[in-house]
């Protein structure tokens, strides 16, 4: 198997597996993606954050950002494989749930109370890991802290946060 084909298989497996950690609407898959490709240096933190940011602006599910991750990793085939990877567990899970809704409910319910904490831990890992991969100035920590408070206490919209940060970037570039 060529290295390109094995990369595509790896992308398919990682994305399909990471989709399982989207339980309850949380985005645990970000942490898996970061763990597999950003931390080892295969995907730059800037491109990872960029793909996620773009995903917040497009219509439809925000998880479509995985197409950007796949594109940055392996071009168009990578993007396509990511879409297949996210669709397989979703279609299987949704079909099973629609078919055996009452039977599955009690088993899934066992994991639901803990899933929020697990996904919170995974998102914290992704955020911390991304911060460790970028050199952040003390003033920039204040910006991050402000966003954390805004998202937590005021439920700031991700699209607005990304847009404002891009605006700050433009201002910083023009002034510097």
């Amino acid at each position: 198997m060529s290295s390109n084909a094995s990369l595509l298989v790896e992308i398919l497996a990682v994305i399909a597996f990471s989709t399982l950690f989207s339980m309850g609407g949380g985005n645990g898959q970000l942490a898996i993606i970061q763990d597999y490709w950003v931390d080892p240096g295969i995907l730059s933190p800037a491109l990872f954050a960029w793909a996620y940011a773009i995903g917040n602006f497009v219509p439809g599910p925000r998880c479509s950002f995985v197409a950007g991750i796949g594109y940055f990793l392996a071009g168009f085939p990578g993007a396509l494989v990511c879409l297949v990877g996210i669709s397989i567990p979703t279609v299987l899970g949704a079909s099973l749930a629609a078919h055996w809704h009452d039977h599955l409910k009690r088993y899934v319910a066992l994991f639901i109370p803990a899933s929020g904490f697990v996904i919170a831990g995974m998102m914290l890992t992704a955020g911390t890991g991304l911060a460790l991969n970028i050199t952040i100035d003390p003033v920039e920590y204040l910006l991050v802290a402000l966003i954390v408070l805004g998202v937590w206490l005021k439920s700031w919209d991700p699209g607005v946060v990304v847009l404002c940060c891009a605006g700050i970037g433009v201002l910083i570039h023009l002034s510097g």
Partner: protein, 168 residues
Amino acid sequence: MWAAIGRLQRELIERRKLLTPEDHKSLMLTAAIIPAPKFLAFAAMVGYRVGGIWGAVGSSVFILLPGALLVIAACILTGTASEHPALVTIQRYVGLGVIGLLVGNSVRMFVGDGIDRDSILFGLLICLGIPTYVILYEGSLIIAACASLAFGSLTIRDYTRPGSADVE
């Protein structure tokens, strides 16, 4: 997402009469507990109800495709200008924003609509244990997440955290 849900509701219940309002509500709730992105799972469940497994495949593909194509187009456009200093600065600040979003959403997810007193200790252990194990001890995230899910399912029971489902 909620704007699209409203439109789907009008289309599926009022116009095409493919679902009853009760079905719609039940599918929405079930979509939140399936290990998959909520909106995508909802679309796949509606597709399954209407056209079986191929309905689920079709609906999930077609709800994912427009956004994914736009993401790819944006990545291509920005990729061609990736060396431009302006884009590098913008990407840096967007990166900082994403860090804030991840940590902020993590706190929101942890708190939910209020933390049950019995769950807070185990929840805190899970929430801080995963990054500690992965970052400080360079452990596997998958192992940490699976072990935490197993540990949490044994120790945290009968506690619904409805606020957490809104984080996507």
